[in-house]
Symmetry: C2
Subunit: 320 residues, 2 copies
Amino acid sequence: MKASLTEALGIEHPIIQGGMVWSAGAKLAAAVSEAGGLGLIGAGSMDSELLRDQIRKARRLTSKPVGVNLPLLYRHAEDNLKVILDEKVNIVFTSAGSPKKTTPVLKKGGATVFHVVATPTLALKCASAGVDGVVAEGFEAGGHNGHAELTTMVLLPQVKHALKNLDLFVVAAGGIASGAQMAAAMALGADGVQVGTRFAATVESSGHPAYKKALLEAGPTSTHLVIKKGIPVRLLENDFRRRIEEAEANGATRELLVEMLGAGRERLGMFEGDVHNGELEAGQVAGMINELRPAAEVVEELIKGFAKVVSEISSTKTLK
Amino acid sequence: MKASLTEALGIEHPIIQGGMVWSAGAKLAAAVSEAGGLGLIGAGSMDSELLRDQIRKARRLTSKPVGVNLPLLYRHAEDNLKVILDEKVNIVFTSAGSPKKTTPVLKKGGATVFHVVATPTLALKCASAGVDGVVAEGFEAGGHNGHAELTTMVLLPQVKHALKNLDLFVVAAGGIASGAQMAAAMALGADGVQVGTRFAATVESSGHPAYKKALLEAGPTSTHLVIKKGIPVRLLENDFRRRIEEAEANGATRELLVEMLGAGRERLGMFEGDVHNGELEAGQVAGMINELRPAAEVVEELIKGFAKVVSEISSTKTLK
C-alpha cells in the first residue's frame, strides 16, 4: 500500500504552506512545520546566499522537515538549485517552468519532488519527469497562475483522473483558507492542501506590515487575475493594478505590459510595503481573512474546521 | 428548526438541474424531477406561449415538483412572469437582473423563490428582496456569469458568511458534475447543488445533437469566459469564440463585441447545431463529461458518488 502524504513527507497534518515570494522565509516555514504541517521556504525571492542562510536558519528553529519552493524560470534558479542540493534539502516543490530537467537532478540528490500544475496535461508531463506528486493549483490562487483558468473544483478531479494509474500524490492549492475548504479539497480527491494567502497574513510571514494589512482589509472581490498576455498573476486592487487593467482593456501588447511591470514590482509591494505602486499578490480567499494570526493557530484552525465539517457532512440526510 | 432544502422543495435529493437556455425543456426537467431531483424549465429561450406549453407538458410527464428559471433581463421576461403566475408555478429560480421587484410578486403568487448570485453582496440584496434562497454560481459555471470571477470554492463560504444570521438556503453551482464535486460543495456549506452542463449532455436535453457531441468531445481546457466588457459568458472553443477572443485581445469595445455577437447566436449554436458560428455554452466540467446519459442516471450517479466520497473522507487518518 502506498504511504500517505503525511508519511511520505514526515509530517503530522496534510497541510503545506505555499512557498510564496517575500512572505515565506525561514521563520514562517519553521513555524508551520513546528505546528505539524510542512513549511516551504520561497526561493523565488532569494539569491543563493540568502536561500542558504534561510535553510540553515529554519533548521535551527525546528528539527521537523522544512522544504523549499523553487520557481524554475527565475534568474537565480540555477544557483538556488545548487544550494538545495548542497544543503541536502529533502523536500522540494518546483513551479513555473518545465520539471523535465530539474526533477531527475533533485531525485538523484535524495529529495521528494512536487511540481505545481494548472492543467491535467502538465500533470502527466510531471509524471514522466519522475515527480513524487503534483500541486494542482486553481484559478483562485494568489500570485502567478496558468492560462487555462481551471478552478480548484474542476482542476483537481481532472488531474486525479489523468494520473489515475500512477502512484503520485495530488495536493490541492487555490481557494483554501478554512477547514471547510480543506474538506472540500479532500472530497475532490486531494491527498493534502497547499495554503498560501492565509499564511501570508500571519505573524511569522516576512511580508511588509502594510502588505499584511492590505490582505486583512481585502473584500470578496478585491483580487483579479491580470497580465494575461504574459505570466498571469492574481493581485489585490491598487493603483498599479488599475493601470495594468486599463492598459489591458485597451488591447496592450505583451511587450507593453512587461514594460509597465518593470523590475522589482513584487518586492516593492510585498516587502517594501508600497501598497500603491507595488504588486500585492493574493488569492481570492483574501476576502475571508480578517485577522493576523500566528501560523500555528492557522494550522490548528484548519485541522479543527476540517474535522468539524467532515463530521457534519457525514450526518447529512441524503445519506440515510 | 428550519426545513431542509429537500423538504422545502418537496424533492428527494438536493440536486437541482440548471434551467439552461435551449437545453432545459419539459422533457429534461420532468426526467430530473422524476429521478428525485428538481427539474427547472429554462424560460430564457422561450416566449410566453412556448413556456406555458412546456410547463403543462412537464406536468403531464411527472406529478413531482418542476420549477422554472426566469432570467430577468430577457426581452420576454415580463410576459413569462405572467405565465408563471398564471400557471401557479410554485418554484421559481430567477437570474440575470435585480430580484427586488420580481421576488415579492412571485412570493405573493405562492412560489418558493431563489435568485442566482456571483458575489456575497448580491446575496445580501437577495435577502432584502425576500428570496427563500440563493444559488451561488462560481466562475467555472457555463453560460452567463458575473464580473467578479469568484470560484465556487471561494464564493460559497463567503455567501454563507454574508447570510449567516438569515434563514436562507444556499445552493452551489459551477463546477459540479460528479459526486465528489457535490461532496465538495456540501463541505463548503451548500444545502444542495445546481448542475447545468452535465444535464445538457443528457438524452432528454433539448439541445441539438451536434452541441451535445461538442460537449462530450470537449477537453479540460476547452472553455473560456469571454465578452468580459459586456455580459461575460463561458463558451466552448469554436470559430465564433476565436473571433471574439481575438477582438478582445485587441481591445475591442463593448459596442463592437455586442455587434459581433448579434442576435440569435445561442439558438444558432445550441439549438440549430451550428457548432462553428454559434454560441456553445458550457462549464469547465465539460472536460469531464464523455458520455450521453439519461438524466435519471446522472442523478443516481451523483448521489452514489456523493455517498462514497463522504464515507471515504470520514475515514481519513487526519481525523483519528
